[in-house]
């Protein structure tokens, strides 16, 4: 059930984004009670003055894995700078490269993301690029040594779920590094679906943060993620158009000799 990723063994395959949370104090409970281990944190939101009671750094458990996020970067140069600063202030070498190509759908700029990934892998980061689901790009990223790819399921915050299944499956099937579905997952059933497809993990922010109870919603997602993963590991039955009689009956029908 556990996942080796970025040099770390992770049990809970639900990663949580923090940007839209109504209250950072819920992070500690998610870590302690739900065993959520990976939290994505935008560098642009980190208040450098720890202990000011408003800095997210004061709310992140020491043992939790911080994935710094370069959101706000408009090109690879800015993303690289943000990543370097993020590593310095959080001591974490996990970086989610997020370079927005535009702000309405929040679609990532794949070209710039590839350039930033190349540089940051060389700089010794564990690189997690957030990408538009493009298999060719995912293969290039795999070649340069990123730790995982993070294709979107649908636009960030859209709650539309897995809206481009064929494209995501191609990536899951064809590359050997972990695939984390990032963005667009709105309901636990979407998360379960992502895991059933063979995704290695999901990253969720909006659906948890904007729910009536972020902690309980994180719990629901966590359960869905484990259920989906377990089913994937066992092997899901094939869907077919007609009912298939279970075997004792089939034996009687097919096995009868003339």
């Amino acid at each position: 059930m556990s996942l080796m990723i970025g040099g770390k063994l992770i049990v809970n395959r639900l990663f949580v984004g923090t940007g839209k949370l109504p209250d950072y104090s819920v992070i500690k409970r998610m870590y302690e009670e739900l065993k959520i281990e990976v939290f994505a944190v935008a560098v642009r939101r980190i208040n450098l003055e720890k202990g000011t009671k408003y800095s997210i750094l004061d709310f992140l458990p020491k043992e939790a894995k911080i994935m710094v996020n370069t959101s706000g970067a408009r090109n690879h140069k800015e993303a690289v700078k943000i990543a370097l600063i993020g590593r310095e202030i959080t001591n974490s070498d996990w970086v989610k490269i997020e370079i927005s190509g535009e702000l309405k759908y929040l679609f990532p700029d794949n070209e710039e993301t590839l350039k930033a990934s190349e540089i940051l892998v060389k700089e010794g980061f564990k690189v997690f690029p957030y990408i538009f689901p493009d298999l060719v790009l995912a293969k290039k990223l795999e070649d340069i040594g990123v730790s995982a790819v993070m294709p979107l399921g649908s636009p960030i915050g859209s709650n539309k779920g897995i809206d481009c299944e064929t494209l995501l499956k191609a990536i899951i099937n064809e590359i050997d590094i972990p695939v984390i579905i990032d963005a667009g997952i709105g309901k636990p059933s979407h998360a379960a679906k992502a895991m059933e497809l063979g995704a290695d993990a999901v990253l969720i922010n909006t659906a948890i943060a904007t729910s009536f109870d972020p902690f309980l919603m994180a719990k629901a997602f966590s359960m869905a993620v484990s259920a989906g993963r377990l089913a994937y590991e066992i092997g899901l039955p094939k869907e077919q158009e007609y009912a298939s009689p279970s075997s004792p009956l089939a034996d009687l029908i097919r096995g009868e000799t003339k």
């Binding site: 839209k20 109504p22 943000i82 535009e102 702000l103 915050g157 709650n159 904007t210």
Partner: protein, 366 residues
């Protein structure tokens, strides 16, 4: 070109009696300018409730359960413009004119920072002699080392000047057109650099081309027919969003407040109208930031948390300085919400939102 869009807007405004059905508009994925105009012209309370709920959902989706906080600091009140509605107008002969020096600026910054504020808005009047570009640059440079977000609201600058500021830590430019009606604009801005309507109109574009990351537009509600001004401003914002897809565009809806002048507003904008403008804008431009200042009452500000607003000023003074030292310099306008940063933080938390202080969108990477 924005001018062509504003001409199209005039045509739609002429036929404003032909409106689209509100129920249809509210179920649409993509709205037209005419849809937006129909929304701001609507006067049905039930629709307004529905629009509020839609706004809430859209705001949560794009911005989360978060309200960004900032504090404005007036560096100077020197001004060579004669804008009749403004407390800093050159016509206001009784106003004590002052500008803060470096030492005073640092003291004010320290005082503002002591409340946890990490985003600063620096303001001056319109005066290149008393507050030249170098003065603004120096303010930005000092601010950059103390705040994650540094925004200016000063006179309209040249593109090259914005470039220099952006490479020295400036993240944003706020500049209000005040009114988009050229005739009214001309009347209200009789002399001084602000007189030039078109130079001002293209300010945001100059700033964005120069690498500034965020711009805020605004009209001073009450100067002109608010429907015309809000309609044109929102189309202006839409135009900027399309032209600069990576830039963060915000809109502000300041209502005219008494400013120690004899000016009387030409149009009264009620609370309900303001709400309708905010919700309609949120529904039309889903990812635009919306700022609400301390001009508005605590009651209205508190009620709007979650409903379209993304950014609020807190603990604001509208005279020069005033945080570390009271210079008794007179206000640009009167504040309605005089609560402290700590009080605003408490209100936001109690509403189930997180006050956000930090936004290093440019400061970290220049």
């Amino acid at each position: 070109m924005i001018e062509r869009i504003l001409e199209e807007a005039d045509k739609l405004l002429k036929d404003k009696d032909q409106r689209n059905n509100i129920e249809d508009i509210l179920t649409k994925e993509k709205l037209s300018p005419k849809d937006f105009l129909s929304l701001i012209l609507d006067d049905d309370d039930n629709n307004l409730f529905i629009m509020a709920e839609i706004s809430k959902k859209i705001t949560e989706r794009y911005f989360g359960k978060v309200i960004n906080l900032f504090t404005p600091l007036y560096l100077s009140n020197f001004c060579i413009c004669g804008c009749s509605y403004c407390g800093f107008s050159m016509e206001n002969k009784n106003l004590k004119r002052i500008k803060l020096n470096t030492e005073e600026i640092i003291k004010e910054f320290e005082s503002i920072k002591s409340h946890g504020i990490d985003s600063i808005l620096l303001l001056t009047g319109c005066d290149r002699i008393n507050t030249p570009f170098e003065y603004i640059l120096s303010g930005v440079r000092i601010a950059k080392d103390m705040f994650s977000e540094v925004v200016i609201e000063v006179y309209s600058l040249e593109e090259e000047e914005y470039r220099i500021l952006a490479t020295n830590g400036l993240t944003g430019v706020t500049l209000y057109q005040e009114t988009y009606n050229k005739e009214v604009y001309k009347k209200l801005h009789p002399y001084g650099p602000k007189k030039d309507y078109y130079y001002r109109l293209y300010t945001q574009e100059r700033a964005l081309r120069a690498g500034v990351k965020e711009v805020t537009l605004g009209v001073l509600l009450g100067l002109n027919d608010p429907i015309e001004d809000v309609f044109k401003m929102v189309l202006h914002a839409e135009y900027l969003l399309k032209k600069f897809p990576n830039a963060e565009i915000s809109i502000s809806f300041p209502r005219f407040r008494p400013a120690g002048t004899n000016f009387k507003e030409a149009f009264k904008v009620t609370d309900k109208m303001l709400l309708r403008f905010i919700f309609s804008t949120r529904i039309y431009l889903k990812n635009v930031g919306i700022t609400l200042s301390t001009r508005e009452t605590p009651k209205l500000r508190d009620a709007l948390i979650g409903y379209g607003i993304t950014k609020m000023s807190a603990g604001s003074k509208t005279s020069v300085g005033g945080y570390a030292k009271d210079y008794s310099s007179g206000n640009q306008f009167e504040n309605e919400d005089r609560r402290s940063v700590e009080e605003i933080v408490e209100v936001i938390r109690n509403k189930g939102y997180r006050p956000e202080f930090t936004n290093w969108i440019g400061g970290l990477i220049v």
